[in-house]
Amino acid sequence: MIRFLSNTGATLRLLLIAVGASFKLFVSLIKLFRPCMRRFNLVVEQMHFLGNYSLAIISISGLFVGFVLGLQGYYTLQKYGSESALGLLVALSLVRELGPVVCALLFAGRAGTSLTAEIGLMRAGEQLSAMEMMGVDPVARILAPRFWAGVFTMPILAAVFSAMGIVGGWVVGVVMIGIDAGSFWGQMQGGVDFFKDVLNGVLKSFIFGITVTFVALYQGFAAQPTPEGVSRSTTSTVVVASLFVLGLDFVLTALMFSL
């Protein structure tokens, strides 16, 4: 019993330390926004790394999600004779929900793991310690540009994902099945509200960008400086970031579309 209490206490203590450390790091990263903007070339470099290298997987995934949405949507809508609303269905599904969420999950798997491994290996190779000993703050020089690059990149990637998805829906619905192109685009234009749907989707992807990039950076920064430690942190990035994204999506959807 005493051992159980002792272990629980130790686990709780470690958890509180991790929460405190992550909160402290998050506040530091937010405070470093202006210094990062002053050295915007570092942010652009990371946006290229995170965004450009994720572009292929995001575009292809978006296209396939669009194909599936087009097919599934058509089979459902035709039962009610509403297949002309396929464009609206595809666009709303992507812009409101699937674009930000699936893009964030893919980003966690592609760019998040790469960030965690990079930072973790820098710690294991004492590069972060070397930087500290030069009088250079590794949070400001290494973590902050990556954080803001991730935050700025995610909405762009989500937009690409949604655009490719809409193209996929159009290919299946209009080109392959033969739905009227005018109805497809017209219903989409008429039914999608810029502020309520598009901007809320952008806001979601911005919040997911903060979440996924922060989780990836924290996991790398707090990684044990061993091969097992870096490996464990990389796995944790995908698990923790995905759960946060899905949980936050529910909360954000409830807040945005119930008000």
Binding site: G125, E126, M133, V136
Partner: protein, 283 residues
């Protein structure tokens, strides 16, 4: 800025009653030592004895549990984050495996602290970097990536980077580990030559007796959380202390035990103790 301007002969670093440990394991227990200016001080001792920990404590990366470390009169443990960052610019540290930034070339690695900390023009930075690389014999390797240089060369690049900001103190963490005899001799001579030419103060943490004793002015041997011996290399070699004798003559057993504490082998193997040595760990 320098509180000791009127006393340049005072030690650069003074450590008083320093205690430090990890969790419940005490590594350094009441250490007192001084690092004189302009000299090469070697810190030696068994693995896990706290040698690298002392370097981290001097650099402010670890906080002492009690006691004080002063660098040129400044209490390292009492400094705030920004003051500590400023103080670190007066120190250089060579890490065991160089800790070069793998995505930057040799040139950019050495230029890194200059670009990050100073406001020098790129033309001036280029001149300084080439001079530092010349000092370590690697001016010709400036365009190579860290993955393209050998371990010995990587450490020399790291040394050039460590002295890029003209520090007062350079700390070397195991600078000879894993080097071939040529690179080892080169590294040792370089440490001594740079120390004398630039007027540095150097602290070398090493296990390599021959090379370290050749270049050091002062040797400190750590053991069991304290200082087992301190003095010139000759004084340390002549020491009668059994622990120092074991270390200097590289005996596997002595005051520093070969066997980690354990119950008897017979007990571990569930054998009757009769006929077996009952001494801990004896075979």
């Amino acid at each position: 800025m320098n509180p000791n301007n009127d006393a340049p002969t005072s030690p650069l670093i003074e450590i008083k009653d320093l205690r430090f440990g990890y969790a419940d394991r005490l590594i350094l227990d009441g250490i007192n030592l001084s690092i004189p200016r302009g000299k090469v001080t070697a810190i030696m001792g068994a693995s896990g004895g706290g040698k690298t920990t002392i370097l981290r404590l001097i650099g402010g990366q670890y906080k002492a549990q009690s006691g004080s470390i002063s660098f040129d009169g400044l209490d390292v443990g009492a400094l705030g984050d920004s003051e500590l960052m400023k103080l670190r610019r007066r120190m250089g540290m060579l890490f065991q495996f160089g800790a070069l930034f793998t995505d930057l070339s040799v040139f950019d690695n050495v230029a890194f602290p200059l670009r990050e900390i100073t406001h020098l023009s790129e033309a001036l930075i280029k001149d300084i970097v080439l001079m530092k690389l010349e000092a370590v014999g690697l001016r010709g390797a400036r365009n190579l990536m860290p993955s393209e240089v050998s371990g010995g060369m990587a450490r020399r690049v790291a040394l050039a980077r460590a002295i890029a900001l003209d520090p007062e103190l350079v700390m070397y963490d195991e600078p000879f580990a894993g080097l071939d005899p040529i690179s080892l001799g080169t590294a040792a001579r370089l440490i001594r030559r740079l120390n004398d030419a630039i007027g540095l103060t150097s602290i070398v943490v090493s296990h390599d007796l021959d090379e370290t004793f050749q270049i050091a002015d002062q040797v400190i041997i750590l053991a069991n959380g304290g200082i087992a011996a301190q003095g010139t290399p000759e004084q340390v070699i002549r020491s009668n202390d059994p622990l120092v004798h074991q270390f200097v003559s590289a005996n596997p057993d002595g005051p520093v035990r070969f066997h980690y504490p354990a119950q008897t082998l017979a007990k571990d193997l569930d054998l009757p103790t009769t006929g077996f040595a009952s001494k801990e760990g004896a075979l």
